[in-house]
């Protein structure tokens, strides 16, 4: 059922029942072509291929990295202070991630695994992200 642009299916064939889908598709294509022709002088090629390179952010909160506006100090509102503590904690211990397996153990095990497999095909499967210390 493949039709090129130059080659057109005969009308009689399109009228047949099993060609209904193709008929519809051809009709759609024709419509699209008409549409494009109609707007060709309004919609420029530039508009067609333009992609948005800017992110619009109308809030200062995200531009200036403002802190949360609700704060409490010295036990005035324990509920808020607990939330503040929870929020500050991840920043404090961001450096060392909790690990079940130490870096050395992982390196040793991986080495063993490589020796056993020894194929170049396997190396491609290893994620190229190196584990940072």
């Amino acid at each position: 059922m493949a039709t090129t642009k130059k080659l057109k299916l005969p009308k009689a064939l399109l009228e047949m029942k099993f060609m209904l889908k193709t008929k519809e598709r051809l009709k759609k294509e024709e419509n699209q072509k008409d549409c494009d022709r109609l707007y060709s002088n309004i919609i420029t090629n530039e508009m067609r291929h333009a992609s948005e390179k800017n992110i619009f952010e109308s809030s200062f909160t995200f531009c200036e990295d403002l802190i949360e506006g609700r704060v409490s100090f010295k036990g005035m509102n324990p509920e808020i202070e607990r939330l503040m503590e929870l929020e500050n904690k991840p920043n404090a211990c961001d450096g060392d991630m909790q690990k079940d397996v130490s870096d050395e153990a992982l390196a040793k095990n991986m080495n063993k695994l490589f020796k056993r497999k020894g194929s170049s095909g396997f190396k491609d499967c290893v994620p190229n992200k190196k584990k940072k210390n």
Binding site: K53, I55, I67, G69, I80
Partner: protein
Amino acid sequence: MKVSVGDVVLPGDYCEEISPKDEKSRVVIGPGLRKEVDHVYITKAGILKKKNPHTYWIDSYQKRYVPIRGENVIGIVTQKAGDIFRVDIGGSTTAALSFLSFEGATKKNRPELQVGDIIYAKLVIASKDMEPELVCVDSFGHKGRLGVLNDGFMFKCPINLVRKILNPKCPLLDSLKNEWPFEMAAGMNGRIWIKANSMRESIALGNAILGAEFLSDSDIKKMCNNIAAILAGHVS
């Protein structure tokens, strides 16, 4: 006129620096800037600021609040209208707050909110043509820091002052936090609510916040020390 980062700018000026050098990086265009076909134009009077890698905005003096999605604001309940509360947030129209958008609220278990109550809420809908909508819960249904603000004292200030004291680099809160117990809620709509144990402490806190508007960082520290000394009774 062509301007660059750090300049005092006026509406109608344009900046050529604001355009991605390489294809991959995306530029964040913040408040006070508008992208037209050829350049990025300035729409507010102020100072053009930049944050790395590619964030630009205008730091301006402003008292009128224009609701923006995602910001936390302080509102005053002005009306109960069926399923929603109407809340004054200082914008052009009142905002709507559904009674279901509170922690643990159901159709039968309505939150107890009276006309005149002060609430700290987040804007979820803020568009040019529609009524802004507030919520008092996060996406998990927890109230977090939002909700009704009981007691305390609320005052208005320019919006840029709120931004100044909420900036992580501002020494105001750092200098005050060890002096006396207090609680503060700062809405991005230029309203600040404070609560302390005594009236003297509340007044001191309010004065410290309002006094910080035109002071430099070192002067803010000095002022806070001064206020704390007066409050403690060392200086009369």
